[in-house]
Symmetry: C2
Subunit: 322 residues, 2 copies
């Protein structure tokens, strides 16, 4: 029975905080550059080991991150925190290199229709482009995180075969990608899909350099984390407060809230290096930054506990004087 | 590697819908009896196999369920759906028996302070009471579901030792309890705790008659379901829409939303007998019933998809005419 109680889980997990990029990119209101900078500094202070700070995509496509150059320049190096930015093409790479970034991420989809809708290319065209872009990034001395989207399901095609994802992952590894991040972009995956996918992808690359990027659209994100941990995965993305969303279901939950991920991991005795209370404070601050409430269960519970404590303290104070 | 991909999970899971009882009991506005009845009929129509319909607690304690007798009388028997009601004591049992119920649930806490706060008794006093109440229920020919609260953590004492929970479970089984429901009442548990707990409790009773009652306060509920499934548990409580809450953290998420549970299970190829879309419609209806929005991720995603479809249809219609 002992093996059933998780004695083979990773002892430490590497968390990539993607709130400043994946989270903010769909916010309708532009967050001023200095506020973004404050956000990134606050995140770093929680101890999160990696922050995806921005993207070098043309402002026409993602106006919310039009200040990629400035943010990139400010946080290309941070004491004790790895940073990276997303680059879609050679031009983006130039921007990231000029800014002095040490690591960048590239992305494509595992389904033809999502790749077409998202980056207006066939999968074969994206692969061709990456066969040049990834070596070019490596030549600049930068690390490459290659993200594959819609690995569990596509909004247009439904379930995506794990073999298709593995084929793409294998190509990206062969071009020189350091990390492969498997993204359940629309949050439809379940643990059985995650395990079947990992079975196909893990033989193709160092398992310590394969990660999961999960969305909580259907509340399955942490069960998928557990499935990943059971397979030996030790790298996960999160976005504080659950920033971000699902463009195919307005109002739906977004990225896996980093604080929920950290709660689960710490509760399982797995280290992250993150101060959970500090992170929850950042999540609360984020609600003010974006001007709307965030859907994270952990954040709501934290604020509820704080309100209950304050209430009790006030009652006591009244009692003492009355 | 194959064993890692869940080939030993239950093929079918028994879901107890507790929205009408555990969900409604904390609602500040009384839901009229005829609306509760409509709620229960709507739930039954989704195919859910079991509904906890009300409680026979004195209205002074739970005014929201003051109509327990009427609801009990109306739904003591339902064609194709099991129903049960919560009874706190002999007096409650009399009410449930008069109403003609076939099954009742009883409850106590696994921590002294929560038992004291919740039902004003020491654990030993509760056990003594149940050593008489449970046989009395059996004598009436009724089934007994014995629920143990705060099995993963107590708001006053912190982590609760699994040995303590197992001791109580063993007593309740010895008095004649048919089912043991282990409740993570404040939603603090993680999969490792759930598995350690089940390791202690499962040897004491038929594993097919041990269930988990999870709350989603920290978004860990579905990861705990997965841990339970991996141990062979095949009975879970849920509350549609995530009705209910955590009295120790106002505004926090409540019960595990049944629709999220069903999404996970169906996605893993596990049968529930429930029509998920019908259940999501009931969850949406519930928001109007209680007069506020519910926190379920699955519900928000469903409504988002519906809005997106409607939007697309309207655009098409405009296109056709313009």
């Amino acid at each position: 029975m002992e093996a059933a109680v998780f004695d083979n889980l990773p002892k430490k997990v590497y968390i990539r905080e993607v709130g400043p990029r994946d989270g903010l990119q769909i916010e309708p209101e532009f967050v001023p550059t200095e506020v973004k900078a404050e956000f990134i500094r606050k995140l770093a202070a929680t101890g999160v080991p990696h922050i995806e700070i921005t993207s070098f995509v043309h402002p026409k496509w993602i106006p919310a991150l039009a200040d990629g150059k400035e943010i990139g320049g400010m946080f290309a190096e941070m004491n004790g925190t790895h940073t990276s930015a997303l680059v879609p093409n050679m031009r983006g790479l130039e921007g990231a290199a000029e800014a002095g970034l040490k690591e960048v991420s590239v992305f494509m989809s595992a389904s033809e229709s999502h790749n077409k809708a998202n980056i207006n290319r066939a999968i074969s065209e994206s692969l061709k482009m990456f066969s040049e872009l990834i070596p070019a990034i490596k030549k600049e001395g930068m690390g490459v995180i290659a993200a594959i989207s819609v690995v569990c399901g596509c909004p247009f095609e439904g379930e995506v075969p794990p073999e298709k994802v593995a084929e793409i992952a294998g190509e990206l590894v062969s071009y020189g990608a350091d990390y492969i991040m498997l993204g359940d972009t629309i949050g439809v995956g379940t643990p059985i899909q995650v395990k079947r996918l990992l079975e196909k992808v893990m033989p193709l690359h160092d398992p310590q350099r394969i990660g999961l990027h999960l969305h909580d659209t259907q509340a399955t994100a942490l069960s998928n984390v557990l499935a990943g941990l059971e397979m030996g995965i030790a790298c996960f993305d999160g976005a504080v407060g659950g920033l971000g969303g699902c463009p195919y279901a307005p109002g739906a939950s977004g990225n896996l809230p980093t604080e929920n991920l950290v709660y689960l991991l710490h509760g399982m005795g797995i280290e992250t290096g993150i101060d959970l209370d500090a992170l929850l404070e950042v999540a609360d601050w984020c609600q003010r930054m974006v001007g709307h409430s965030l859907s994270s269960n952990g954040l709501r519970a934290y604020l509820g506990r704080k309100a209950a404590k304050k209430n009790a303290a006030e009652k006591n104070a009244t009692g003492a004087h009355g």
